[in-house]
């Protein structure tokens, strides 16, 4: 009995990926994740062959944008009726639903074609690290993040801070001026 059948099943099986969206830009997430959803990361890709994978994104609450982009980036919606236009800054949408911003970026990065609705069904977004067990048991591999997540100062232990190499020591009498406060222009 040859195992060609088993190899065929293994080659065309739908794969489940995990992606940690913490401190990543939603546009970068969209550009990377859409390839996996459409199946373009596979050498056997064909638009008719429905070879896309499932992607689970966690920590969508903690996505990051640069500077005041949370205020400048607007999501627009028109109901189709007169006076039905509305515009919302990204931070309002994020407060209302922490997965919506990432979902919109991914949905609009996939080309507008009949398969788009099936492709987006295979995307699973979670605001924090809690994922339901029936989804988590399918997840097989994790995708590499786009930007490295740096360690915050509070995550360093006191010993590491003391032992970190210094060029020079400030004298005890020296007063270090506080930084200028960041001005954020509210929408």
């Amino acid at each position: 009995m040859s195992n060609a059948r088993v190899k065929q099943w293994a080659q065309f099986a739908r794969f489940w990926w995990l992606f940690d969206a913490k401190w990543q830009h939603p546009k970068g997430i969209a550009e990377k994740v859409k390839l996996y959803l459409m199946g373009k990361h596979k050498p056997i890709y064909h638009p008719f062959s429905d070879c896309g994978d499932q992607v689970v994104i966690i920590n969508t609450r903690h996505v990051a944008m640069k500077g005041d982009e949370w205020f400048r980036k607007k999501f627009r919606h028109h109901t189709g009726y007169p006076r039905g236009f509305s515009e919302w800054p990204a931070w309002v949408v994020q407060d209302q639903d922490p997965t919506k911003v990432v979902w919109k970026y991914i949905y609009h990065s996939i080309p507008q074609k009949p398969q788009r609705s099936t492709i987006i069904e295979r995307l699973h977004l979670f605001p924090d690290e809690e994922v339901p067990p029936d989804i988590m048991k399918n997840v097989a591999a994790q995708m590499r993040q786009l930007r490295p997540v740096p360690k915050t100062l509070s995550e360093y232990t006191n010993e590491e801070i003391d032992n970190f190499p210094r060029l020079f020591e400030w004298p005890d009498e020296y007063i270090i001026k506080p930084d200028r406060p960041v001005s954020i222009k509210a929408a």
Binding site: L35, K40, H41, P43, Y45
Partner: protein, 146 residues
């Protein structure tokens, strides 16, 4: 006695118009409505369909090439280099595999494809383009070594 004017009375008969219309209707057999059966409408529809066929013949070739490039790019990324690095280094090494062949190798001969990728990585390191990786992949023999 010779009847000379009789020769002038012999004129070529009008060819049967059925044949001219048949040439068009052969191509319009599967069209919708009057485009199938009425000559004037069918003539225009058939000529449009022949124009489309000519345009699509070129597009089919370019669509297939685009698909091959996409497949090669995704296969090469699995090994760490993008499509443009692979193709440019293969040109420099005089490996004349075309895109459809490379796509077939990427799907059905993965180890062969990996060895091609290794050759391209070595070439880019030896040429000084790749400054990040100092060591070329193992088992690649180049001209300078022999």
């Amino acid at each position: 006695m010779v009847f000379l004017t009789a020769v002038k009375l012999l004129r070529q008969p009008v060819p049967d118009p059925w044949w001219k219309r048949h040439r068009i209707f052969q191509l319009s057999k599967y069209f919708y409505g009057r485009r199938r059966n009425c000559y004037g409408v069918a003539f225009r529809a058939v000529h449009k369909s022949l124009e489309q066929a000519r345009y699509v013949r070129k597009k089919k070739a370019s669509d297939f090439r685009q698909l091959c490039i996409l497949r090669i790019h995704s296969a090469a990324l699995e090994h760490g280099i993008p499509y443009n690095a692979l193709i440019s280094n293969m040109l420099k090494c005089n490996i004349a595999l075309n895109r459809p062949m490379l796509a077939q190798l990427a799907i059905y001969e993965p180890r062969t494809f990996k060895s091609l990728v290794d050759v391209c990585k070595t070439k880019s390191i030896e040429d000084g383009i790749d400054t990040v990786n100092r060591l070329p992949p193992p088992h690649v023999i180049t001209r300078g070594m022999l």
